[in-house]
C-alpha cells in the first residue's frame, strides 16, 4: 500500500503532460458531445447584439495577438457574423495590436466571400454587407490605451482619410454620420491584452457607449468586476463563453467541438490534485515526520 502512496507522491510530471496530449488529441478528433449550459452573461451579450437597429454603428476592436487568438477565435467567429447579420448596421473594424490586422483578415476571409469583380483584401462580402458600403477597416493604430483615448477624443483626426488599404473613407464616414466617438452605438472588444478597461475609461465614462467584451480567461476577473459595476454591457469569457455563444447564435465552430476535451482535462487536473494529496498524506507526510 505504501508503494502505491509513494507512486502517487512521485509521479513524473511528464506523465501528466503525455496524458494531456493524448486525451486532447483523441477528444478533438472524436468528440463525444457532452451537453452545454448557456450562462446568463452570454445570453445578455447575445441580446445586446440582437437589439441592434438599422443605422447603428458598431466598432469592433481586435485587441488580439497570436498568443490569444486560438482562445478567442471562437468568440470572434460567432459574434462578428452575428453583428454582420443585423440589417442596416454599419461596422468599423479596428485593431490596437500590431498582429491584429492578420487575424482581422483571417476572420473576414472565414466568414465572408470575395465580392464580385474583386480579388483579395479588403473586398469581401459578409452576410450581404460589402466593403466600403457597409463596413470599413481602419486597421492598426499603435499606442494601446493611448490609441483608444486618442480615438475617443479626436475620432476623425486619428482615423484620417484612408482605411488600412489606402482607400478613401471620408465619404463613407460622412454618409454614415461618423464624426466623433458619440456616433458609435456599440463597441465589441475582443481582448487579449485587457483593452476593455481603456474602452470603459475613455468611451463608456464620458459617452456612455455600450461595450461588449469577449476576453481570454486571464483577463476575465477584471472584466467581471467592470461588468458587475455596470460598465460593460456584456461579457463572453474565454473558450467556454465562446462555445455558449456559438450554440446560441447557431454559428457552430471549434470552441463547441473542444468542450469535450475542455471538460476532461479539467477533470484531469482535479485528479492530479487528488492524487497529489493522497501521495502527500500516505507517504510524504510520514517521511517528513521520520
Amino acid at each position: 500500500m505504501s508503494r502505491a502512496f509513494k507512486i502517487c507522491a512521485t509521479i513524473d510530471r511528464r506523465v501528466w503532460y503525455l496524458l494531456i496530449f493524448v486525451l486532447v488529441g483523441f477528444l478533438l478528433l472524436h468528440p463525444v458531445g457532452f451537453p452545454l449550459k448557456v450562462g446568463p452573461e452570454v445570453k445578455t451579450a447575445y441580446n445586446v447584439i440582437e437589439d441592434l437597429k438599422p443605422g447603428d454603428i458598431v466598432l469592433i476592436n481586435y485587441d488580439i495577438s497570436a498568443f490569444g487568438w486560438d482562445e478567442i477565435k471562437g468568440s470572434a467567429l460567432s459574434m462578428i457574423p452575428h453583428i454582420f447579420s443585423k440589417d442596416g448596421v454599419k461596422v468599423i473594424l479596428f485593431t490596437d495590436q500590431d498582429q491584429g490586422y492578420i487575424f482581422l483578415e483571417t476572420t473576414i476571409a472565414k466568414i465572408g466571400e470575395p465580392m464580385a469583380g474583386y480579388d483579395g483584401f479588403p473586398w469581401y462580402e459578409v452576410h450581404g454587407k460589402k466593403y466600403l458600403e457597409d463596413y470599413i477597416n481602419i486597421g492598426f493604430i499603435p499606442g494601446f490605451d493611448k490609441a483608444i483615448a486618442a480615438l475617443a477624443s479626436d475620432f476623425r483626426g486619428l482615423v484620417g482619410s484612408t482605411d488600412w488599404y489606402g482607400n478613401n473613407i471620408i465619404s463613407w464616414l460622412d454618409e454614415n454620420g461618423v464624426d466623433a466617438a458619440q456616433d458609435i452605438e456599440l463597441i465589441l472588444t475582443l481582448d487579449c491584452a485587457g483593452a476593455q478597461s481603456s474602452w470603459v475609461n475613455y468611451w463608456y465614462l464620458p459617452y456612455n457607449t455600450k461595450i461588449l467584451n469577449a476576453m481570454i480567461g486571464v483577463s476575465a476577473p477584471g472584466s467581471i468586476v467592470n461588468y458587475d459595476a455596470g460598465m460593460l454591457a456584456g461579457i463572453v469569457i474565454s473558450v467556454r463563453g465562446a462555445a455558449e455563444y456559438q450554440y446560441l447564435s447557431g454559428y457552430y465552430g471549434a470552441a463547441l467541438v473542444s468542450m469535450d476535451a475542455f471538460s476532461i482535462i479539467q477533470f484531469l487536473l482535479i485528479a492530479a490534485i487528488i492524487i497529489g494529496n493522497v501521495g502527500y498524506y500516505g507517504w510524504e507526510k510520514g517521511r517528513e515526520k521520520r
Partner: protein, 239 residues
C-alpha cells in the same frame, strides 16, 4: 496544397513542437531554434508594423500639406529625438520625449481610473443589504460587502492589528485564499482554451495531423537519442 502553404504548415508545426519540446525536461537544440526564431521574427514584425503606421499616417500627413500639418512635424522630431538614446554623449536629449510620453501616459491613465477604478467600484459595492424580500440577493449583497471590506483590511499595514481589525484581517485572508483558488481555475481555463485551439489547428485536417505526428516523432526521438547516447554533442549544440 501549394508548396508555400505546405512549407508554412511544416515550419509552423516545427516551431510549435520545438517549443513544446521543453516539456521533455531536456534542453535541446529544437527548443533553442524555435525560441530564437520566434524572438527574431516578433521583433521584426513589431518594427515593420510601427514603421508602416508612422509612414502612412505621420509622414503622409506632412508630405500632403506641411503648412497645415506642422504639428505632425514636431511629433516626428520628438520621435527622432528618442533615437539619441543610443549615443552615450547625447542620450540626455531623449529625456524630453520620454518626459512628454510619461506625462501624457500618467495623466491619460489616472484621469479616468479615478472614476472607473475607484468611484464606480465603491458605488458598485454599496449594495442594499437590509431588504430581505429576496433572501438570496440580500445574502449575496451582504457577502460581497463583507468580502470587499475584509479583503481591504488585509492590506492595512500601517497600524497594529487588534480586536475587530484583526478578525477582519483574518477573514480577509481566508476570502483571498478562496478567491485565489477561483482565479487559478479561471487562469487554467484560459490557458487550456489556448492549448485546445492550438491543437485543433495542428490536428485538423488530415494533412496537418500527418505533419504534426511526423514532426513530433522526429523531435522526440532525436532529443532522446542525443540526450542518451551523444550527451557531449548535445552540450555543444545547445546555447
Amino acid at each position: 496544397m501549394d508548396v508555400v502553404s505546405w512549407l508554412i504548415l511544416v515550419l509552423s508545426t516545427a516551431i510549435t513542437f520545438g517549443l513544446f519540446s521543453i516539456l521533455t525536461g531536456v534542453d535541446n537544440p529544437f527548443f533553442a531554434w524555435a525560441e530564437n526564431t520566434y524572438v527574431g521574427g516578433a521583433v521584426g514584425m513589431t518594427i515593420v508594423v510601427s514603421f508602416t503606421w508612422i509612414v502612412s499616417n505621420v509622414v503622409a500627413k506632412i508630405t500632403s500639406n506641411i503648412s497645415a500639418n506642422w504639428p505632425s512635424v514636431v511629433s516626428l522630431i520628438l520621435g527622432l529625438m528618442m533615437l539619441t538614446r543610443i549615443h552615450p554623449k547625447y542620450s540626455f536629449i531623449a529625456r524630453i520625449p520620454i518626459c512628454i510620453a510619461t506625462g501624457v501616459g500618467i495623466a491619460v491613465s489616472t484621469r479616468a481610473i479615478v472614476f472607473s477604478g475607484l468611484l464606480y467600484q465603491i458605488r458598485a459595492t454599496i449594495l442594499p443589504i437590509f431588504d430581505w424580500s429576496n433572501v438570496v440577493t440580500a445574502f449575496t449583497n451582504l457577502m460581497v460587502v463583507v468580502f470587499v471590506i475584509t479583503v481591504l483590511t488585509f492590506f492595512v499595514y500601517t497600524t497594529e492589528l487588534r480586536g475587530p481589525l484583526k478578525t477582519s484581517h483574518t477573514v480577509g485572508r481566508l476570502v483571498l485564499f478562496l478567491s485565489f483558488g477561483a482565479l487559478y481555475a479561471q487562469t487554467y481555463m484560459g490557458r487550456l482554451g489556448l492549448f485546445l485551439g492550438r491543437m485543433e489547428t495542428l490536428l485538423i485536417p488530415q494533412t496537418s495531423f500527418n505533419i504534426s505526428i511526423t514532426v513530433a516523432l522526429v523531435i522526440v526521438i532525436t532529443t532522446f537519442v542525443l540526450h542518451r547516447f551523444y550527451p557531449d554533442v548535445m552540450k555543444q549544440i545547445i546555447p
